[in-house]
């Protein structure tokens, strides 16, 4: 089932069989009915709050409500094909936060690995992800990739599941909905890594667009890598853009101090999105 681009369902039908004990009071007004329904939904929904991965950057964590939600699906897209490594680093930087010691599954298509390069152990170790924890899966077709991701999300031993999707592959709402439901079942963080921003609807909790930004280079060579990060969708709060710097020593993201020269404007034109400026 493939949805047309930009397709958002107009009506979301929620059908609940109410437990008899939480019946709607007789002859109640519309507001009371709604309250009762909301209450019953809260009862039915288990408590699935597994906490969040904090960035340690106040404005970002505030927007995200304490950090990137675990037990959820997050979509990280590169601004362009060449920025895929920046997006990869953004995901891995989050995947390798210190409390998490379980396995990381990186599921990609053969074609994607050929185009963008394979994960390189020594480089992964540099960003703080021990290569021992990584299991890579090469899928022959997008269908296999989605299947492998769902299987991995069900596994207790997997802490982070990364699915690398090429820009050519369309990912419909059903696929991302399935993944986010699977991710919500247990304490596991799911990332969709895309080589270009997707235009189709997605059920991801957050959507990001990441591009590389010039670092504070000096005569000794390139400085700490910098990223310009746009949060284009956030189910918990407002969106925004930030300029982040990866601290190679501490292995965490910092808010980049402003450069003396003007930084190029956001690569992505999304005028209808309100932006909250962190930097």
């Amino acid at each position: 089932m493939v949805s047309p681009p930009g397709y958002v369902p107009a009506v979301l039908m929620v059908v609940v069989r109410l437990p008899t004990s939480i019946a709607v009071p007789p002859r109640a007004g519309g507001r009371e009915v709604l309250c009762a329904l909301k209450h019953s939904l809260r009862v039915l929904e288990p408590d699935l709050d597994y906490g969040a991965i904090a960035f340690g950057i106040a404005p970002l964590d505030e927007v995200l409500g304490g950090g990137l939600a675990r037990a959820a699906l997050h979509e990280v897209a590169a601004a362009g094909e060449s920025a895929i490594t920046a997006a990869t680093q953004f995901v891995l930087g989050l995947a390798s936060y210190p409390q998490e010691q379980r396995a990381v599954l990186w599921i990609a298509e053969d074609m994607g690995l050929h185009e963008n390069g394979v994960p390189y152990g020594p480089g992964l170790d540099d960003v703080g992800l021990s290569p021992e924890r990584l299991v890579t899966v090469a899928a022959a077709k997008p269908r296999d990739l989605l299947w492998a991701m769902e299987e991995a999300l069900r596994c207790r031993a997997a802490g982070v599941v990364i699915g690398e999707v090429r820009s050519a592959d369309r990912l419909d709402l059903v696929a991302s909905r399935r993944l986010s439901i699977a991710a919500g079942q247990r304490d596991v963080c799911a990332f969709l890594l895309r080589s270009a921003p997707g235009t189709d609807a997605s059920a991801a909790a957050t959507r990001w667009i990441v591009s590389a930004a010039p670092s504070r280079a000096n005569a000794a060579g390139p400085g700490h890598p910098r990223f310009s990060v746009h949060l284009t969708r956030n189910r918990r709060g407002p969106v925004g853009s930030w300029l982040l710097e990866w601290n190679r020593v501490e292995r965490r993201f910092d808010l980049a101090p402003p450069l003396s020269e003007p930084v190029a404007d956001a690569a992505c034109d999304r005028p209808h999105r309100a932006t909250a400026h962190g930097a």
Binding site: T85, T88, G121, G123
Partner: protein
């Protein structure tokens, strides 16, 4: 003896009433190598020249021989015969040896087994002769030259005596030499003094004689190694649905489980053999990364494996026998329940097994570190199911990296370094701009060179490489290298090997 003609007759869609002969070129003459039943009744025999046969019976169906096809057919029949015994060998060009010790009672005795075997083979369209004896030599001689049937143990001497010497599996020259002195039947040499016989005709005569009489043991080299654990299930009514096959797998695995437990072992490689009613045998193998013996685990692997089969199960008219054998077993510690970390680890192994069964073992990989300076050799992907994946060298790599303060490595490495067009201002310096995948990149910052020499004892790594970490105007960071030095090469080539964040 009529394997080739039966093969051709089976492949025909319409019956051909003409006598069938198969011919092959021997020397300069086209001779008959096999004759069909109709041709044999006319008196045609293998070895006859085709021209002579044609002169006698002009209306012959002549087909050129194809030994490779015959061999394939024989192998297929051998495969099918595995339903009777796992110990079986092919005796080219047209024979099969089955060791039925301990198997006959499953069919209700040797007579019934033999009758069942012959009836089924005949059903497939092959004329067959079979003999059961206590030695390979005697069974061979009886099946090919003597009265087929069952020879009681100890009766070899009397049964073999009237058979021709050729029944002893001797080289042609020896048979001819024996015939020249008038020794034509086995009975003629049975009571001759052994020493002069050996001196004149070689030890082979005595050895084959001793083997046929059971005085010397002869081992049978089986076609396939015999699995340590086997469970099988015949069906009165052939099964065809995948669900049924899975149910049978669980039942067979449940039968193997106590055997495995008793010896403290678990399965690492499992083979499911499905015998189709028309004689085709389907073998499906799964491997695991840790030894398993739980029937449900084995079933889960087969669910994925069957789902990924390109040509589906294709049951035809159904399977009438299923066999689950454990090809590789390994000591398996008793299950421990309740220790969180171990359970998680087992869960990961189970996931890896499931992914490998569905996608293929070469698609589910782990990274290991190798002791090499060449970047593409320093890290290697190995199948996650392989044991080598556990002995990764990352701890050693970290010690090495911290010891020499290795410069940063890229996050993603291209599978093959890609050539780029680069312009460098200083001969040994970094490029000022380069073109990669048709896009031009202006270098604003560079770090390097880090010189990596190829290993002198192997050509594999190529010339010396000078690696640079460069950043372009847009902030993209790359790992480039120049292959070769300006001093030794007029125009060194530049490559892009990886990308940094």
């Amino acid at each position: 003896m009529r394997l080739a003609t039966d093969r051709i007759a089976r492949q025909r869609t319409a019956p051909d009433p003409r006598p069938l002969v198969v011919t092959g070129r021997q020397g300069n003459v086209e001779r008959l190598t096999a004759v069909g039943a109709a041709a044999a009744s006319l008196g045609l025999k293998p070895g006859l020249a085709l021209a002579e046969a044609r002169a006698r019976y002009p209306d012959l169906a002549v087909v050129a021989e194809h030994p490779a096809d015959d061999r394939r057919l024989l192998d297929a029949i051998a495969d099918w015969c595995q339903r009777y015994t796992p110990l079986l060998a092919v005796n080219p060009p047209d024979g099969l040896l089955l060791d039925i010790a301990g198997c006959a009672h499953l069919y209700g005795g040797e007579e019934k087994l033999l009758a069942d075997l012959l009836a089924r083979v005949e059903c497939f369209g092959f004329a067959a002769r079979a003999a059961i004896a206590s030695t390979i030599g005697a069974a061979f001689a009886l099946a090919r030259f003597g009265p087929a049937g069952i020879l009681a143990p100890g009766a070899e001497r009397t049964a073999l005596a009237p058979l021709p010497i050729a029944a002893l599996r001797l080289p042609e020259e020896t048979i001819a030499a024996l015939r020249r002195v008038g020794l034509k039947r086995i009975g003629d040499i049975l009571d001759l003094p052994r020493a002069p016989l050996a001196a004149r005709f070689g030890n082979e005569v005595l050895r084959q004689l001793a083997r046929a009489l059971g005085e010397e043991r002869e081992p049978l080299t089986p076609l396939l190694p015999v699995a340590a654990y086997v469970a099988e299930q015949p069906f009165a009514e052939p099964i065809a649905r995948e669900d049924d096959v899975l149910r049978v797998i669980v039942r067979l695995a449940a039968r193997l489980k106590p055997m495995l437990e008793r010896r403290g072992e678990g399965a690492r490689r499992i083979e499911l053999a499905l015998f189709r009613t028309d004689g085709v045998v389907r073998r499906i193998i799964v491997s695991t990364s840790r030894s398993v013996r739980d029937p449900d685990d084995i079933r889960a692997l087969y669910v994925e494996r069957l789902a990924s089969l390109a040509d589906a199960l294709d049951p035809g008219f159904g399977f009438d026998l299923a066999r689950l054998s454990i090809l590789v077993a390994e000591t398996c510690p008793p299950e421990q329940i309740g220790l969180g970390e171990r359970a998680d680890e087992a869960d990961l192994d189970r996931l890896i097994d499931r992914l490998s069964a569905r996608l293929g073992a070469r698609r589910v990989m782990r990274l290991i570190a190798n002791d090499s300076h060449i970047p593409e050799l320093a890290a290697e992907s190995v199948p996650a199911q392989a044991d080598v994946a556990l002995e990764n060298g990352w701890a050693a790599f970290r010690r090495f990296r911290d010891g020499v303060a290795l410069s940063p490595r890229p996050l993603r490495l291209l599978i093959k370094p890609e050539p780029i067009e680069a312009i460098a201002t200083v001969p040994d310096g970094p490029p000022v701009r380069f073109r990669w995948r048709r896009a031009l990149h202006e270098v604003v910052a560079a770090d390097g060179p880090e010189r990596i020499e190829g290993t002198w004892w192997s050509e594999e790594a190529g010339p010396t490489r000078d690696y640079f970490r460069v950043e372009d105007k847009a902030g993209l960071r790359f790992w480039l290298f120049r292959a070769g030095l300006y001093r030794s090469t007029a125009q060194p080539q530049w490559f892009l090997h990886g990308t940094f964040a």
